[in-house]
Subunit: 200 residues, 2 copies
């Protein structure tokens, strides 16, 4: 993990990601940038380690990551993060608990990072930042609710089809067993699902 100084920070990317949630005025933008650190994570390296400290919110600007939870020795892919997006293990981060997942770079990654403490300072200093924090949390809710619905109502085949529809390049970029794990099925099952879909 390589950290650099302020000169490496691309203000426009940061602003444009935050602007997907609400208009960001110059004052808030300066506040955000002033707390930003730049980090590079090489392919295969961890950004966050399962069971370790969980005090960083990342904004992935380049690359691909996955969060993984190891339970009883098997590896479960919980989320893929495809730039540009925020990267964190949200629940542990908010509760100040050790991370439940590792977050690992599947390709060389570049991130901007804010510490938990700096984030709280931003919230205290600026009403606008409080709002953007709320809007981001609300979007996370929508994503997670989507996940519940998918596990509740969809078959593995349907989940696979939806994933390839919304994220077609993923299948090229990561090994199939990680996709299987993300879908909640075994690699053998995913292989059969794919065989069946091809036959049709």
């Amino acid at each position: 993990m390589i950290s650099n100084d302020q000169r490496d920070i691309d203000h426009r990317i940061i602003r444009s990601v935050y602007e997907t949630f609400m208009p960001i005025n110059d004052e808030l933008h300066e506040l955000i940038v002033s707390k930003t650190t730049y980090v590079e994570i090489a392919k295969g390296q961890e950004f966050i380690q399962q069971g370790g400290p969980n005090d960083q919110l990342g904004l992935l600007v380049d690359g691909l990551m996955r969060s993984v939870e190891i339970i009883d020795g098997d590896d479960h892919t919980m989320i893929f993060f495809d730039a540009p997006c925020f990267v964190t293990e949200y629940v542990g981060f908010l509760r100040r608990e050790p991370s439940r997942h590792s977050i690992i770079a599947l390709e060389d990654c570049r991130l901007y990072v804010w510490s938990y403490d700096d984030l709280q300072k931003m919230y205290s200093l600026s009403k606008e930042s409080e709002r953007v924090g709320r809007l981001i949390a609300e979007c996370v809710i929508a994503d997670v609710v989507n996940d519940v619905r998918s596990f509740r109502f969809d078959t593995a085949t349907e989940r696979y089809e939806k994933l390839t529809a919304t994220f077609p390049k993923l299948v090229q970029r990561v090994p199939q067993y990680m996709i299987a794990s993300y879908l909640g099925v075994t690699p053998e099952s995913l292989s059969r699902i794919r065989a069946k879909l091809i036959k049709e």
Copy 2:
């Protein structure tokens, strides 16, 4: 649905629920109360209707409700709401879309209600309210993530055991087929799960 005026509002209950998220000062408390409406919903009646307008956030202070989504004619219980708690179909509410669920009283219910517009006004008027909104959203994330984990990792039997452990009275208060539906299994399966657990 019966709406009454300000005199029916129990300030202490409202404050105590908000205080589970953060300390509420008098100014914010007054703001919240000034926008509050009181509503009673009789057993069997709807608070929110699937496909209908979704512009109310409820605080259930008495009673039990469930949110139900009808898909292809079958009825899926998405959540049980046991007072005191907030009641809404969050995603549609936030996105200003029709409600995905109905929310129905399983017992006679009493709620305090805020309209979407009043909530936005509160957010604009007060930094503190923005923060409490964020903190509530963050708690919702934790709940929903829990749901995903349960559907992903737990068997139906485990989900049933967890539900009865965390909410033992529920089984007395609602028909079993609703519990089955909440757990994501058929009534027949839940009946067998219970039979097996009793035998052990």
